[in-house]
Structures are given as structure tokens and as C-alpha cells.
Symmetry: C2
Subunit: 324 residues, 2 copies
């Protein structure tokens, strides 16, 4: 939970004069969010979200993210829509930070995932993928397979503080992922496009079990579409005790197929993609776990959940093995 | 900035069925706030604030606070108004915590105080005091003069880590406050009533330099009315460099007098009340500074600002000495 940069009322009022969205009515920091500072902003014309981009986001990439959100919203995907200033610019500066205003999305993210969430989730993910096909700019996945070994290297010597033997376990796990990764030994022809790449429950809003929108596109990138499903299998389909919920996974895949039927090749690749997704979140959590100062505003997430998920995926060779 | 207790969407939906305020539309944690967990809540009927009361608030005192807010709102003071459940109860339970819903107040708190804020502030404070006269229940000030020596005792031995010699300085300062405190050597007949007792800039909302409301009544108590002005002198009338802003103080007192003219006795007591107010905030900040664990969600406020303010007040015997 975080607001890293505070914004003075005077600076905000001045900033808003560059926009045609009415006068300031209310302004509160939002506790959710880890990477950026987010504020709920009300004007005489309605509700908006103001985001100040903090250091972990590469400012040069912001136009790509905002362009994607604008494109997706234009294609009917319910996501925050960047609001342009009078100048036409979606990205401006406030309190010394790149800043953008987006539309406010109603809904509440599910603290406890239920089966009823997973089919709408799959449908929304497939719609995002379909809508992204016509967004041409490319952003490489900076947390893809090439980033994993360097991430582990930067934690080397400290990894076993999380679980004894973890470092050797991860070294060995790479041999079961990288050589069979799509394009690196695995199928090189899986459909690619714009993926969300971080579609955890706190980025998906629901109203009465109807999905009302997707948020937080700041890990989005151009990658294998089915990898996004593999991320959701990790993020949505495990119980708190670490067990895999087959019902949730079935609903997720059913929902996806409702909109964009997965090919046999994509289905076949899901287990290795799921291993890779577990590895990716394990490694960034491991890195944050080791490198977050004790007095940081944000409590790092325990990487242990993803150690368990990785082990589960490594023990499973095919989608049948998941019971899906 | 803090949300200490998260609330599941299911628990919230269930909680809301006890209220006649429509269906859930959105729900976000608010970053501001130190003592309790606050959420911005939108329903099909409008906007509300949901507060979960955390451990530092005495649950038995919550009806007093909520009753005061209801009373003040009923008297035309712009403050959050508790929303009763269908049962009539303003205080209920959510996620194992006492919880209340209040109305949403538009406005933005001033990050940088200007003279234009101070007269409306004084007027609002006087209106609060006038409106509070008809709220009969009494709550003693748990952070009044009787609490100060025990607070310092609990920090003894660690106080000088803030500034060398601070412990002896505070011991000596008591001799210039307690024996002349109203009722303890000073004038025993100053008007008393319900005071806010924590009216810092972040608890006062403005819209275009018009004061739109007061929030956070969880330090309110029954005490000397002029003590609330003394708190505002400390909280609003010092520059970042520690210098006293006479213009702000004049505007504050002018505003107060607009609504409820201060008596000569109250004016004469202001310097010692201002010393006491500086001591009170100095001591709680000192306590938090020493006792907040490094990994706490909230960064404690530096007590040093209040050491400087206390020194300033101790050097001033009369309101004329302030230049007011």
C-alpha cells in the first residue's frame, strides 16, 4: 500500500487547469498499488484516477502503456482510459514525476477467488488478447526468460535464507523450463501479441460476480498469449494451502475458449508456460524479499508461495496432469 | 498512510446488507490516516467512508465520537455524519473490528497553509465549539496535562536520542506549564466544551479556499475551548523553518472572533495553552518515535518540530509577545 509522492493541493489545482475535466472536488491517496502513487480524484465532471509514476517504471515506456490502454478501451475492453490534457498529451508532469489521469473503473477486486470469477476472467483475458492484436507497437517482456538467470544471480548467496536448498532447486528448475520454452526448443509458432502479464485478482474488478474491468497495465508487454493464461493459472487457481484448484482452472480455460479458442499447440505449451510464470513471480518476489529495506512502505510478498507452485508445475507434464 | 485490516469483498457485501445505502460499486483503501483503516466506499446511492477502528482507539469510546459527529452535523457543522444501519446502530462489526460508515466529505486538505485558510479555520473551530455546547456527554482529554509526565516517564533514558539534553529541558518546561495551567493555578473559569483536539491541516478540507469540512474526530474530548485554538496555533501557524507566522495567527483569531469572540481571560491563557499543546504533540511524537518498530506501516513524525515550537512558546508570556 503506498503513496510515495505527495501532491500539494496547489500543484494539483494548477495541473488540472491543463485538463478539460472540471474543477477539483476531492483527492485522496489510494492505499493499494505497489509500483506507483495512485490517487482517487473527483472533479465537478466525475471520478478519475491520478497516477504518479515512480522510479521502478521506465518513463520512456509510459507512452506504450498509455497507448495500449487507450487502444484496448477503444476496442471495448473495460480498462482505465487515459484522459488527454488540452494539449493532447496523455502523459504530463506533476510533483516532479511523470503523471497521467485515467478514467475511474467501478468494481471491487475479489479477496477470495471463487469459481464464479474464473470464467469471466478467462473471457476478459481472451478479449484483451483479441483487442491487442491491432495495437502494433511492441514492448519486449523485460521479465521474460532472459531476465530470470540474472535475477537469480543478483540473489545468489542469500536465496537459501528463504528455504534451505532453494538456490540449487532453482538452478535445477531452469533445466526444465528454458530448454523447452517456446521458441527456445519448444514450439516457436505460438500466437503472440499484447499480454497483461500481471493479471492477479487485485487487478480485476467485479460487481456482483460480473467482471467490471481490468487495471494496472504497467507490466503489459508483447509476448506469447498463452503465457498470460499461465500467469492466471498461478495467480488465481491455487488455494491458500497451496493446493491446485482444478475447478478454477477449468473455468478459466472455458472462459478463454468462449472468446478465443486455444489451439492444441497452446494447450500443450501451458505446463511449461506455467512453470515459467511461477519462476518469474518467484524470482521478483525473492529479489524484493532480499532487497527491501526493513523501513520500506511496502511489505514484500513472501516468495515461498511460488516455490510451492513451481514445484507443482514441475511435477506435471501435460494439461491432463492438471486434471483440466 | 495505512490500511491495517483488509476487508474481503464478501464480508463487505454482507456488511452492506445491514444498511439501506444501495449496492456496492467500488471500494478502495485510503492511504491517509494513521490510527484507523479507512476505505472510500461507493454504492449505487453515493459515496461514503468506511472506517475500521484499530487497536489504538478504545472501542468503548466510539459511541461518544460517533454521537458527537452526528450532533455536530445536525447543528450544521460540515463533518462526516455517521450512517446508521437498518438496526439503528451507527457502530457495527466488520473483519473483527468495530466499523462505521460515514458520509463522504468533498474537499482537499492544504499541503501548504496560506493566510487565506486561517480565518475560515478559526470560524469553523468556533462553530464547532458553539455546536458542541448542546452535546452533553463528557469525554475527558486522555492526552491532557495529567498524561504528560507519565508519557515522558515512559520515554525516560531514550529522550536525549532525539536532541541532546531534551529530557532535562522537558522536565524544566513542565514547571512553566503545569503550575499555571487553567484550573491548576491558572484561571479555573475558562469556558469548556467539546473540542476537536487534533485540528491539523490534514483534517480540514477546502475547495477553492472555502472550508468544506472537518474530519477525524477521534481525539475529540471535553476540555478548555481555547486549548483547541492553542493546538491550531501550533499546527497551522509555524513555517517549515520553525518561525512563527503572525499573519496566520491573526487570521485564525479573527476568524474565531467572527463567530465566538474570545474573552480577555481566554486570550490571556493562550500562551500557556500553546505551551501545553506543543508539549502534548511533542510527547506523543516522542513516544511514537522511540516505540515505532522499524518495519511499521506508518513512519513516525519527528518530534523535533515541536521541541522548537515549545521553546518559542516558553519565550513568550503574552499574546502581545506573539505580535498578535
Amino acid at each position: 500500500m503506498a503513496v510515495y509522492t505527495d501532491v500539494s493541493d496547489e500543484a494539483l489545482t494548477s495541473f488540472l487547469t491543463d485538463y478539460d475535466i472540471g474543477d477539483l472536488v476531492a483527492f485522496r491517496g489510494i492505499a493499494e498499488g505497489v509500483e506507483n502513487s495512485n490517487f482517487q480524484l473527483r472533479t465537478t465532471q466525475g471520478d478519475f484516477i491520478l497516477t504518479l509514476y515512480e522510479k521502478r517504471v521506465n518513463a520512456q515506456e509510459l507512452p506504450w502503456f498509455l497507448g495500449l490502454m487507450q487502444h484496448l478501451a477503444g476496442q471495448g475492453v473495460s480498462c482505465p482510459q487515459p484522459v488527454a490534457a488540452r494539449s493532447g498529451a496523455m502523459l504530463n508532469t506533476l510533483a516532479g514525476r511523470p503523471a497521467a489521469i485515467t478514467t475511474f473503473l467501478p468494481g471491487v477486486w475479489p479477496r477470495k477467488v471463487k469459481a464464479a470469477h474464473c470464467r469471466p476472467l478467462g473471457q476478459a483475458l481472451a478479449r484483451l488478447h483479441a483487442a491487442g492484436q491491432s495495437y502494433a507497437p511492441v514492448r519486449a517482456n523485460s521479465l521474460g526468460p532472459d531476465a530470470w538467470k540474472p535475477l537469480l544471480e543478483s540473489c545468489r548467496g542469500q536465496t537459501d535464507s528463504v528455504v534451505a536448498g532453494l538456490e540449487a532447486e532453482l538452478d535445477a528448475a531452469f533445466d526444465h523450463i528454458l530448454p523447452v520454452w517456446p521458441g527456445q526448443g519448444g514450439n516457436p509458432d505460438l500466437p503472440r501479441g499484447q499480454i497483461h502479464a500481471d493479471l492477479f485478482p487485485d487487478n480485476v474488478f467485479f460487481l456482483k460476480n460480473m467482471l467490471s474491468g481490468l487495471i494496472d497495465f504497467y507490466f503489459a508487454c508483447t509476448d506469447i498469449l498463452a503465457y498470460d493464461i499461465a500467469i492466471c493459472l498461478n495467480a488465481w487457481c491455487f488455494e491458500e494451502d497451496g493446493s491446485f484448484n482444478v475447478t478454477f482452472a477449468r473455468q478459466l480455460l472455458l472462459g478463454y475458449d468462449d472468446v478465443r479458442p486455444l489451439s492444441a499447440q497452446e494447450r500443450a505449451a501451458l505446463p511449461v508456460l506455467a512453470r515459467g510464470a511461477a519462476m518469474r513471480f518467484l524470482l521478483t518476489r525473492l529479489y524484493d524479499w532480499i532487497n527491501t529495506p526493513a523501513d520500506a512502505l511496502v511489505t514484500p510478498k513472501d516468495p515461498l508461495d511460488y516455490v510451492k507452485r513451481l514445484r507443482f508445475h514441475l511435477a506435471t507434464e501435460t494439461l491432463d496432469g492438471y486434471g483440466v
